[in-house]
């Protein structure tokens, strides 16, 4: 314990306290997930602790639960639609924000942020009402486009921050070699932006897959997304089937983490 040496008791106690809280918080972050994973292998049909035995039946039950599987597929579709729309709409917008030579680039960046700053439920209610007035009823498509609008800012911000750190000399070199703007975009800028787009894609997909606040007002009556289905399941049953869903999600989250850390690095996530 070398750094205790030569320090005043107040300092040791003070920093010790800060570090103790830090360790407590880190345990608090991870412990519930570990407990849920343990529960998901329990043989008993109601939630108790400690578990009585080991079984995979809850995982089997998840995939035999028709509504749950359908909800998962719906959310998968929403997640993918949101991701594709965010790439198609967001990447060019980021280019315009950073490379544009028109008045109002800042205004454009702020404009894109606005729907993200508004609480999700307010956006959900607004889209539901506006849709009803023009005859668009809630559906998986209304849900997808609403979540896209809500989360687009994340894609734009991720690509924007990467774009601002790119060396402009690379694009100038391409122009000097007589590449057309499109060629330079395709062969120089775009490959360099790929990691940021991939990271943005992970976050927009997760939002599309998991969003409840916007989805609860805009989802189709028959196409219930996973969060809506899960909320009902958690509220009205106590079987460990939700724990098994958690187990599946944790595995997916680890996969997503690996993708993000390999594409832009974990430490770049919130820039």
């Amino acid at each position: 314990m070398k750094w205790f040496r030569g320090r005043s008791p107040v300092d040791v106690v003070g920093i010790g306290l800060v570090l103790a809280v830090a360790v407590f918080s880190l345990v608090l972050l991870v412990a519930p997930s570990i407990i849920v994973v343990i529960i998901s292998f329990d043989t008993r049909a109601y939630v108790t602790f400690p578990p009585a035995g080991f079984t995979l039946r809850w995982y089997k039950a998840v995939f035999e639960h028709g509504e749950l599987v359908e909800a998962m597929l719906n959310s998968l579709q929403v997640g993918l639609t949101v991701t594709v729309l965010c790439i198609v709409l967001g990447v060019p917008t980021a280019l315009a924000c950073v490379r544009g030579r028109f008045r109002g680039t800042t205004a454009l960046s702020v404009f894109v942020l606005v729907p993200h700053m508004v609480p999700g439920i307010v956006l959900g209610v607004a889209v539901l009402f506006a849709g009803a007035l023009v005859g668009v009823s809630p559906s998986i498509w209304l849900q997808s486009i609403s979540i896209t609008v809500f989360i687009l800012a994340v894609m734009v911000r991720t690509v924007q921050s990467r774009l601002m750190r790119l060396d402009p000399a690379l694009e100038e070199a391409a122009a000097n070699l007589r590449a057309t703007p499109f060629q330079s975009l395709r062969t120089v800028t775009f490959p360099l932006l790929m990691p940021a787009i991939l990271a943005g894609a992970v976050f927009t997909f997760v939002e599309g897959f998991d969003n409840l606040s916007v989805a609860i007002f805009t989802h189709g009556f028959r196409d219930r997304p996973l969060p809506v289905e899960l909320l009902a399941l958690v509220q009205y049953t106590s079987s460990p089937i939700v724990a098994a869903v958690s187990g599946v999600q944790i595995v997916l989250a680890i996969a997503a983490l690996v993708i993000v850390s390999m594409s832009i690095g974990l430490d770049k996530v919130n820039e």
Partner: protein
Amino acid sequence: MAEAAIHRRITPPGFGEQVADALLSGRGIWPAVPAIVVLTVVAVIPFAILLSLGFSDFEMSRGAIISQTFSFSHLTNALTDPLYWITFQRSMNLALSTTALCLLFGYPVAYLFLTGGPWTKRLILVLTIAPLLTSGIVRTYAWLVILGGRGVLNSALLQAGLIDQALRIMNTHWAVLIGMVQIHLPVMILPLIAVMSRHDSRLVEASENLGASRIGTLRTVILPLSVPGIGTGSALVFTLTYTTFVVPQILGGGNYLNAATMIYEQVVFSLEWSKGSVSSLILMVTCLMVLVAIALLTNHFTKWTKGHDA
């Protein structure tokens, strides 16, 4: 590679590329136009409609508004209804206390990140980012398992002989608060880490070389410099917690009415458009007021540090 580049240069561009060039070389607003159109149709116009519904009396027939007159009546009805005050106050209290507790528990983690080695940093990043990639409902369910009557906490305390009968934590304010803090903790930690890792590490070294204790350095150097991170983290946590319904619904036992649950009931169950619009607008405006307050405070304390620099 070089040959390919030369080849590409001498190939005349196709029509598609010519159009793309025209759009890109102007460095104009064109690439952003699709996004602007979508945001206008799916966000700006709906907000305008929400606003008009909240501030008017209207008659509907077959899903269309047939007459609409400007009116403050829905707003005044809401503001004189004690249920609104109680509900919004409850949401506000819950959100503010969650934000404060997240800061209290999150800040030390960010400090550990700043002072820790590469493996500590990596561990902290994994533990804070991973939860954000899993569903909030699933993470709330974990607290159902822990705090329930026959849950982990009660089993442990009973077995240890610390209590004689199971504690009733579920469906109380405490269950909601615990769940809210744990679920939103990563949202507070990430901005703190982002701001702290931009610090010039020589400032901390200089402070310690000048004989400041670690606590002294934390208080006089690290804390003032991390004010922008505290601001961003608090704003994010507040917005999320003020407008959530997952945790209150699940851990509050369904009868814990907060602003979000009230709006949901007005809009989805009782189909009261005017009430739903007004409640949404009140939610948005009150949320914005707190965000402005947070921004002003952040600005004030940031200026204070800048003054010390000079």
